[in-house]
Amino acid sequence: MDGILLGLEVALQPSNILICLLGVTLGTAVGVLPGIGPTATVALLLPITFSFDPVASLIMLAGIYYGAQYGGSTTAILLNLPGESSAVVTALDGHQMAKQGRAGPALATAALGSFFAGTVATVLVALFAPPLASAALKFGPADYFSIVVLGLLASIALASGSAVKALAMIVLGLLLGTIGQDGFTGVPRFTFGVREMYGGLDFVSLAVGLFGLAEIIRNLEHRINPSLVTKKVEGLWLTKEDFRRIRMPVLRGTTMGSLLGVLPGGGHVLASFTSYSLEKRISKNPEQFGRGAIEGVAAPESANNAAAQTSFIPLLTLGLPAHPVMALLVGAFIIQGIQPGPDVIETEPELFWGLIASFWIGNLLLVMLNLPLIGLWVRMLSVPYSVLFPAIIAFASIGCYSLGLNSWDVFAVAAAGLLGYFLIRWGCEAAPLLLGFVLGPLLEENLRRAMIISRGDPSVFVTRPISATLLALALIIVVAALLPSVRQKREVVFSGEDD
């Protein structure tokens, strides 16, 4: 309780409210642009946040993330162009509603559902993160190694497409993470004698390349003419009947999202897909789904937002990012001189609780801002792509250069973009690569430490109970992901993405 009060005290400082507002607005403005998902939005806006102090910069980042999520739903509903896989389901019924002239209620449902889910999930984070963090303090290097392995392998199970390719992408990410000075011996690895490479590949460059540049090249394969269904959104308010219909889906979506969001790898994607199929299964009129059922917007949007919130739990308690945006946040923490992990609650209570309180304030600001400002966002949607993508290129270049005034960070954007474009074209997802890249150094460091402590005996990973349990879980996940029956179900779950 003291923690939450401390958090509110931090988050309610006028400057921090302003920062949060700025983050939410910028996040929505960029996130609403077609073809830019939340990950690309956060990566592109990351450099802007570094000019603030740690608490303010992380509050702003969290705001950008929510704003980007909300903006992504708006694009999905109005343009049928989901920026990221978690918004794919929203587009199914949301865009149909928009076509039927009910864009207003669809957007309002998304906003209200998200707000409710965000509120509940914030409370969950505040309740569960501290005890989890104190449990995590007992972890030794072997346990840490195993939990990173678990996290990485779980992300395969949740990735769409081939499991072997997802695994290969993780390993490639781990390898790219070894570039730069070896933390143990100080030996520069794979730097080709270039001093600027000693710090390793910059993760912002990698993320901007993989999720920004690669996506632009992909979009340029075709001439795209997104058809805006409506130039004006009217009649935002929901009817009593609408409220009655969305009540239970929002509750169920929130529950599902809160639980699945903690999973590493893409719990938020899974959350929106499962909550949608659950609603469809238990609905009395399943034939309405896909034709503009308001439940089909309410449930996945709530699930998505609840998951976005609870995915902070592994980040704040273990320092483990659950998905690419969280991986970007790890980088942001490190740039601010804070190692995310179980100590953060003890050593930086203002930051921890301030961040949690600002989650809720951010969600509140989103509802208050976005519904009245919807006209502005719709106008942003009509920015032609031929102007938009050069702007992204310019922002990405300046942003990555400004972080360290290092030209190699700019070259890395081009390289990562090319690599990402081709690998994605060949059926490999980019998210596992980024997760591997961020977790690689953590994995290697704990592996080497554990082996020194155990005097070179690898059995330490299966004799320590925590580590053994985690590795057993990881094994179950991999076996399950490769089993034919589960594989088929996975394909069914993800087949919606092709629609």
């Binding site: 540049l213 632009i216 394969e221």
Partner: protein
């Protein structure tokens, strides 16, 4: 890897446009992984490998490089058995080589010249090259886009965010 029968319409993804032969996307993905795996494993062997007790700088790269090479080979072998459905069903146009080249060139130009030319001139060329990559964007329109975006970026980054980047660089005496 899926061994399900090839979906209709995936012939574009096959070598020589025939129904038989390896699935090109899978083959290329596998080959890329093998290339990276070998490069890291061979590169890693130049560093101290160490022992399991005291791992040297080369230990983890060699182990992971080997693993990636193995996974790449698995994907290559599987590419002869069927097409990954997520690739086969994707609606993809031809690779836009020219547009891709313009974008990569724009970014590389920025990296090479931002220190010397300064933010203003470097950005102007970068946005111009990038804008040319658009469908149906002629040089005149690209120039307009470039001037507008350069002004916007200078306003946002230099004046609003106070980034300490010189607008004109050393090469121009700025």
């Amino acid at each position: 890897m899926s061994t399900s029968p090839a979906a209709p319409g995936d012939h574009a993804g096959r070598l020589g446009g025939e129904r038989s032969g390896p699935s090109l996307p899978d083959l290329m993905a596998g080959a890329t992984f093998v290339a990276f795996g070998l490069a890291f494993a061979i590169g890693g062997s130049q560093y101290d490998v160490g022992t399991a007790l005291r791992m040297g700088s080369g230990y983890v790269p060699i182990a992971l490089g080997g693993l990636l090479t193995f996974l790449g080979l698995v994907i290559v072998v599987a590419s002869f058995r069927g097409v990954d459905p997520t690739v086969a069903n994707a609606d993809r146009g031809p690779i836009p080589w020219q547009r891709m080249g313009l974008l990569v060139g724009a970014i590389m130009f920025f990296g090479f010249t931002v220190g010397g030319l300064g933010l203003g001139p470097s950005l102007l060329v970068t946005t111009f090259l990038a804008a040319l990559a658009g469908h149906g964007t002629r040089p005149g329109r690209a120039a307009v886009i470039a001037i507008g975006l350069t002004a916007l970026c200078l306003g946002v980054f230099v004046f609003a965010l106070q980034l300490r980047l010189p607008i004109l660089g050393d090469w121009l005496g700025g």
